[in-house]
């Protein structure tokens, strides 16, 4: 369970990222956060694993407190929380397998890492993660040779290799074309259902949010302005979140609207 209690994030230059957030996310939920750029959705997601420090308030992931956590505690927390990024953040010069093994670093002795050696058990976990996202045949391919969608799936495999309790996704599909974006969202949804891992995704494409989210959180100006199931999030609600009426930029180009939680 992830619990925010009056969390405020103020950046060094003065801007307020989060302005008093109270939020509880239960285990196994699939949450989608939407809002304008700068509304705080990226900040919200990044405070959960401590990439953005909390200025005041309490933030707890399970039993561990994230606010004010020391370096050791943060590393332990991040071992249990996986994250995928908009730009995939793979090491392009190395193989897919080595990238996935990054997810096992938290339990690998530093000496083995320095020597570039991976334990058999870790390699097995990595392979299983690759199989789960359906890309195992590329295990020894250089990451730079993969397409965007494939790279993101490798990133998902990297997160799965951590065997995390929570998966965070910061704009995971913003760099992908519409069909691939749907595939990736479907993968995330499937993993959430099959493995029961709490998943929090940060999106700005509204149709994807409605199609895949189990719970939608709308943010504006660092505050939560909407929190409910996708059925309640109609266009009027979105207009309220975005402070303007919707434009074509807010939905994926030529998306079939029939796509919904029932499609697999």
């Amino acid at each position: 369970m992830i619990r925010f209690t009056d969390v405020v994030v103020r950046y060094p230059n003065g801007t307020v990222g989060l302005d008093g957030i109270d939020l509880t996310i239960r285990d196994g939920e699939f949450v989608v956060v939407v809002g304008l750029s700068g509304a705080g959705k990226s900040t919200l997601v990044r405070t959960i694993n401590g990439l953005v420090p909390v200025t005041s308030g309490e933030l707890a992931v399970g039993e561990s407190r994230v606010d004010g956590a020391g370096k050791r505690a943060l590393r332990d927390l991040r071992a249990r929380v996986g994250m995928i990024f908009q730009s995939f953040n793979l090491v392009t010069r190395t193989t897919v397998l080595k990238n996935v093994l990054v997810g096992r670093l938290h339990s690998t002795p530093t000496l083995l890492t320095l020597l570039g050696v991976a334990r058999k058990a870790d390699v097995e976990i990595a392979f299983q993660a690759l199989e789960r996202v359906g890309i195992v045949e590329k295990a020894y391919t250089r990451a730079s040779q993969l397409s965007g969608g494939q790279q993101q799936r490798v990133a998902i495999a990297r997160v799965l290799a951590q065997q995390p309790e929570v998966i965070l996704a910061d704009e995971p599909v913003a760099s992908l074309d519409p069909p691939t974006a749907n595939l990736v969202m479907r993968d995330l949804q499937r993993i959430n259902r099959e493995l029961g891992i709490t998943t929090i995704v940060n999106l700005h494409f509204l149709d994807l949010a409605r199609a895949y989210g189990q719970r939608i959180i709308g943010m504006r100006g660092g505050r939560i302005v909407f929190d409910g199931p996708p059925e309640e999030a109609d266009d009027a609600v979105f207009a309220q979140i975005y402070g303007r009426s919707l434009t074509a930029d807010d939905i994926l180009p030529d998306t079939p609207v029939e796509l919904g939680p029932t499609a697999t």
Partner: protein
């Protein structure tokens, strides 16, 4: 109403920077020229004696070539070992001297300062120092070159580290890796081609440096050159020079090819 007449902007003052630089350069050149008693006259007058000596250098004693092999191999061996050890030390030093891999401000600044000092001493001065510490011979040459190399490689590598893509580092952090693991997994693969290129560059420098190091007693072909020069054996000397030239030229070409391959 007639269209308003456009006012021509006043001609901007000429870029001060460029011309003042040029003026400063000319002044410095004049000052420097007089400081060294710049005088091209000897080139045209009283050339007989000078050119006589020069011509003696162009009559190599080819039978001497056999005796250059051993010292030349020594020089190459010293260069190889010094480059190897220099690289290993420099990699660690570079990590300390880059903000990306060292978060502790004090360590970072101290490392940069130490490396700056290391780089300010010419290789021959290092040679003299180590001859004083460990006596004449190849050991002094090796240690001197290692000290000389670390400064150069570490600075170049630190600059490369500063320019890496921060994405994979963020991913490693988010997966719970510690600083060392992060450097090994996300930084090293990105800097490896450049690092190899710097190593080759420094190897070339080492071979050239051996000539002067020999003069201060630090072994290699330089010692032989110093000896033959002192004995005025210009024919032997020119044989050595020819061989040295061929070797350095060959290394230049090979290294150029290798570095182009690395860049791809």
């Amino acid at each position: 109403m007639t269209a308003p007449v456009a006012v021509r902007p006043p001609k901007p003052r000429p870029a001060l920077g460029m011309w003042s630089l040029l003026a400063a350069s000319v002044v410095i050149t004049i000052v420097a020229g007089s400081a060294i008693d710049f005088d091209l006259l000897p080139l045209f007058s009283d050339t007989t004696r000078g050119w006589f000596i020069v011509s003696q250098f162009f009559a190599p004693d080819w039978s001497y070539l056999g005796r250059t092999v051993a010292p030349l191999l020594d020089t190459l061996a010293i260069a190889v070992v010094a480059t190897a050890f220099g690289c290993v030390l420099a990699l660690g030093a570079a990590m300390l001297a880059s903000r990306i891999t060292t978060r502790n401000g004090a360590i970072y600044r101290t490392s940069k300062a130490v490396l700056s000092v290391l780089r300010s001493l010419p290789d021959v001065v290092w040679g003299m120092l180590f001859v004083a510490f460990v006596g004449v011979g190849a050991l002094a040459g090796m240690l001197a070159l290692v000290a000389f190399n670390v400064g150069i490689i570490a600075k170049l590598t630190a600059e490369t580290i500063d320019a890496v893509d921060p994405g994979p580092l963020e991913a490693a952090d988010a997966a719970g890796a510690n600083s060392v693991q992060r450097a090994r997994v996300a930084v090293v693969p990105q800097i490896l081609p450049n690092f190899a290129s710097y190593s080759l560059y420094v190897f070339e420098l080492n071979v050239r440096a051996s000539v002067v190091l020999g003069f201060v007693g630090a072994g290699g072909i330089g010692t032989q050159i110093a000896v033959e020069l002192a004995r005025f054996n210009y024919d032997n000397l020119s044989a050595i020079i020819v061989v040295l030239f061929v070797v350095v030229f060959a290394i230049d070409q090979i290294s150029g090819v290798l570095r182009r391959r690395l860049a791809s």
